[in-house]
């Protein structure tokens, strides 16, 4: 099915959130910077327009960062229920963008989507970057690879998600009403898509070997949700993938170490 062209509702190049409509699905999208096109798929939280890494990465690339249906201010169509609805949506987004090839960056949960998309789509990607990505099963059946964020105490999740939680973890008592409402939307959507099997596709690992684009796997050295060992195993499944650790960062190196994260990604994009 030929996808219709992407329709951005605001002028290209503004830094505020715009809308993107593909195949009847309406998405909130942040656009930032100029250069090679990058489709950025967010993790457990939608990307905040104030995130510093957006401006830093925007010096090297034109970033297109949609909020997945159900996250942020993107509505979820009633029949959007699984990760595969998201994967097919973003395959349609890739086909509809006015670029022959796009670099795909996936963070955490969005890294799972990016890996699925890279397996399914060889012709529209030129580079793949997975950042503390979820999506595969590595260890034995009694060793969970991915911390169960829904069934673990919030204090423990906080401790394991950040290298420096005191500085970076959100304080729900200090967040605005609007931010808390968006967090609740993100939480529900993440649960819908990722509850079972918990944050992975049992079949994905088998197909990662078919990825042909140059791939970088970036990992926060202090990530306690999915450890660097999992990241190394992920990279080993993808032919020729490089693996880079970001020191003093947890599950979100793009937040905790924006400079070294962007330096690492920019070096890879420039190769």
């Amino acid at each position: 099915m030929p996808a219709p062209d992407a329709v951005f509702s605001n002028a290209v190049g503004t830094s505020t959130a715009e809308r993107l409509s593909v195949g009847g699905v309406d998405l909130e999208v942040i656009r930032r910077g100029a250069g090679r096109p990058v489709l950025l798929l967010h993790g457990m939280q939608h990307v905040s327009p104030d995130a510093r890494f957006l401006d830093l990465l925007g010096r090297h690339a034109e970033i297109i960062a949609p909020s997945h249906p159900g996250f942020g201010n993107s509505p979820r169509p009633a029949d959007f229920e699984t990760v595969y609805d998201l994967v097919r949506l973003y395959l349609a987004v890739l086909d509809s963008l006015p670029y022959e090839r796009v670099t795909l960056i996936g963070l955490s949960f969005g890294g799972w989507l990016a890996a699925e998309i890279a397996v399914a789509c060889r012709h529209r990607l030129d580079r793949l970057v997975l950042v503390d990505a979820l999506g595969i099963k590595v260890s034995d059946r009694e060793t969970p690879d991915i911390l169960d964020v829904f069934n673990t105490s919030p204090a423990e999740v906080r401790r394991r998600a950040w290298h420096d939680p005191a500085r970076w973890a959100p304080d729900y008592d200090a967040l605005s009403d609007e931010e808390l409402v968006l967090r609740a939307r993100n939480w529900d959507a993440l649960c819908l898509y990722g509850w079972h099997p918990y944050m992975y596709n049992p079949q994905l690992k088998r197909w990662l070997g078919g990825i042909r684009v140059p791939t970088l796997v970036v990992w926060g050295a202090s990530d306690g949700l999915v450890t660097p060992a999992y990241g190394r195993a992920y990279a080993q499944c993808i032919p020729g993938a490089r693996f880079e650790l970001i020191a003093r960062a947890g599950h979100q190196p793009e937040i905790e170490q924006a400079e070294s994260f962007v330096d690492t990604v920019a070096r890879f994009l420039g190769r």
Partner: protein
């Protein structure tokens, strides 16, 4: 009015320091704290209490909860099977297998049909939406829980009432290509259906379906609102009015010889609120899907912003877990005293909420002893129940 007795078979024998240290007495408290020998004694006592109810003509009710000190009844059909065989006259309400946690509703229909046949048609089938820590215990996605609830009810109802050979079900949450249960239920088209809910949307659907609508410990305002949503939905759908027989209320109930005894023993039931509700935040206020996102500011913050008019989730929970005997009585959560007092309290509540045809008694909880429980059952059955039975169903607007 009918009355139904139940005990959730709680397991209160946890060292106080463990109770204080743990963040949750549900889902995550290690089962090494559950001594199977004590559990066996509890089951024996409680099943004997159910059989005493049968002797006295007081209907019985079997619930289900998972992995917590509040209840050892993790497998509703097990108790149901015992009650179906060992009781001889009373009706048996399952309230019920937590169907949105079970992956195969057809199996649930088989269990219910079997219990209905063994009891020779004494089964009533109640459904409970579940939530909270049950989701973790059952590996069940808390999102779409209510969708699964209704689809499972539809599939179970069809499995119980379809007698013309295999049918196919390819729904959103359940697929089963060859449904043809044996035995079929004793009652036709199927046992009466009940549903427990306080939220107005589900209450409306319960009303449209004509199920018996149970409110649990909701107090007068919440109960009246839910019953009203039930009736309004029927009126809006052009359905006939229902009688009080469509409404049920569950409360802690204890009858003693005197008010002093009734209150002293009955107050032990509040252990359920004071101790067995302790639930970690991931199973309660941060459970996905448990609130509409617009309520997150009240629920996610540890305390409300200055000037806020509503309580935070923390404050609400604290209000329930620290409720006093007097407050519980005033809110229609506890009916306790001598027979006259208990009857009066029930009827005051009846008038406050617009009437109901079924009282479901949470009759034993916490550290209440077997002897105390049996005494309460006897006094309720002989001194209060005949008066309740005299209250006939009436149509309510």
């Amino acid at each position: 009015m009918d009355a139904w007795w139940q005990c959730e078979v709680p397991y209160p024998f946890i060292p106080p320091d463990v109770l204080t240290a743990t963040d949750s007495v549900r889902a995550s408290l290690p089962n090494r704290y559950c001594d199977p020998k004590i559990a066996a004694d509890l089951f024996e006592e409680v099943i004997d209490e159910f059989l005493l109810c049968d002797d006295l003509g007081l209907h019985v009710l079997a619930i289900e909860h998972h992995a917590g000190i509040n209840s050892l009844l993790a497998s509703n059909p097990m108790l149901l099977g015992i009650l179906a065989r060992q009781t001889r006259q009373v009706r048996i309400l399952t309230l019920g297998t937590l169907i949105s946690l079970r992956q195969d509703p057809v199996r649930v229909a088989e269990e219910y049909a079997t219990a209905d046949v063994i009891s020779r048609g004494r089964l009533e089938i109640g459904f409970v939406k579940s939530g909270g820590s049950e989701m973790a215990s059952a590996n069940a996605n808390p999102i779409n829980n209510v969708e699964r609830y209704w689809e499972a009810i539809d599939l179970i109802t069809k499995a119980l009432s379809h007698h013309e050979g295999p049918f196919s079900w390819e729904g959103k949450h359940y697929t089963h290509r060859h449904v043809n249960i044996w035995p079929r239920p004793w009652q036709t088209p199927h046992p009466r259906l009940w549903s427990a809910t306080g939220d107005p949307d589900t209450a409306a659907e319960v009303g449209r379906r004509g199920m018996v609508h149970v409110l649990v410990l909701r107090g007068p305002e919440g109960t009246r609102r839910a019953y009203a949503a039930h009736r309004r939905a029927r009126a809006e759908a052009g359905l006939p009015k229902v009688t009080t027989d469509n409404f049920a209320y569950a409360a802690f109930v204890y009858v003693g010889d005197t008010d002093e005894e009734g209150l002293r023993v009955g107050s032990k039931l509040l252990w359920f609120l004071h101790t067995s509700l302790k639930s970690a935040p991931q199973y309660s206020r941060f459970l996905p899907g448990s609130i509409e996102p617009h309520l997150a500011p009240q629920v996610y913050r540890s305390a409300p912003r200055p000037g806020a008019t509503t309580l935070s989730a923390n404050q609400n929970a604290a209000r329930l877990t620290s409720i006093s005997v007097e407050q519980a009585q005033a809110q229609g959560i506890l009916f306790a005293g001598n027979p006259d007092t208990v009857y009066r309290q029930i009827m005051e509540f009846y008038d406050q909420v617009g009437g109901f045809g079924h009282l479901t008694l949470i009759g034993r909880s916490g550290y209440m002893t077997h002897a105390e429980s049996e005494k309460g059952i006897r006094l309720f059955s002989t001194e209060v129940l005949p008066r309740l039975r005299a209250i006939k169903p009436v149509t309510v607007d």
